[in-house]
């Protein structure tokens, strides 16, 4: 409890809501090492990931490693929420991340088909560039996609992806984000 501190207001600084339009996603199986929280006692260390995650070699392309996939999110559709779970004397939290990926292409269909059968680590960026992580080692985020064709008279064609992960609040990632080679 040594890290409890005052909670100031905006103090003139920006506090823009929302998330940027790229979501980084990688199945847990792809990682060589999923870094955990810092064990030092600085302010915020208990919610900050220690260093960078690293990836295994991709057997499909010898000598090349896996990395995070980049998913485009239509502007103003990505949202991260963290809600409490459990009961008195046994509380936790659950993160919910949602975003919309436009189109009716095979890539999104294949992604939705496969990703629902695995657990993932996901990263999102706030408008001011802070990277937040959803999921952790052995508590990876589960992602499901819901496709909507829209209607001729209106609506939006594409897939809404919803992810959920049990984690004890916001997780801050300050490492390097390795990307899957194109």
């Amino acid at each position: 409890m040594a890290n409890l501190s005052h909670l100031p207001g905006p103090q003139g600084k920006d506090n823009q809501p929302g998330l940027k339009g790229t979501v980084y996603i990688a199945p847990e199986e792809w990682f060589e090492k999923i870094a955990g929280f810092k064990t030092t006692n600085g302010k915020g260390d208990s919610v900050t990931i220690d260093g960078s995650h690293t990836f295994k070699d991709n057997p499909a392309t010898p000598g090349v490693k896996y990395g995070f996939l980049k998913a485009y999110a239509t502007q103003d559709t990505a949202q991260l929420k963290i809600e409490p779970t459990g009961e008195r004397d046994g509380r936790g939290a659950k993160a919910s991340l949602e975003f919309f990926n436009p189109g009716a292409g095979k890539e999104a269909a294949e992604f939705a088909r496969i990703i629902k059968n695995t657990t993932c680590i996901m990263l999102v960026k706030t408008p001011d560039g802070v990277v937040q992580q959803v999921g952790a080692e052995d508590l990876g985020a589960e992602i499901v996609g819901s496709y909507d064709s829209g209607k001729l008279s209106g609506g939006r064609r594409g897939t809404t992806f919803k992810a959920e992960a049990y984690q004890n609040g916001n997780q801050y990632y300050e490492g390097i984000i390795d990307l899957l080679p194109a």
Binding site: S52, I176, P181, A182
Partner: protein, 80 residues
């Protein structure tokens, strides 16, 4: 998985990672295409270890070494 020649003279990849997003610099990099200036920026980012500056070996004696070895068998004359 090779750096551009002018970059490879001074830097080397450490983990076989070639595409990265660096949140501190706010952009993606293909390490096989970066310029020397970008390589310098990347290695200056705290915690960035996907690229490192090559260690230049220090030459000590032997063929091709320093030409300023003291000659044997001849002592310097004292100024006193």
């Amino acid at each position: 998985m090779e750096l551009r020649p002018e970059v490879a003279e001074q830097f080397e990849l450490t983990m076989g990672v070639t595409r990265v997003h660096v949140p501190q610099l706010g952009r993606d990099y293909d390490l096989t295409r970066i310029s020397l200036e970008e390589a310098e920026q990347l290695v200056a980012v705290p915690g960035f270890d996907r690229l490192r500056r090559k260690q230049v070996p220090v030459k000590r004696g032997g063929a091709g070494g320093s030409n300023h070895r003291p000659r044997k068998g001849k002592k310097k004359e004292s100024l006193m």
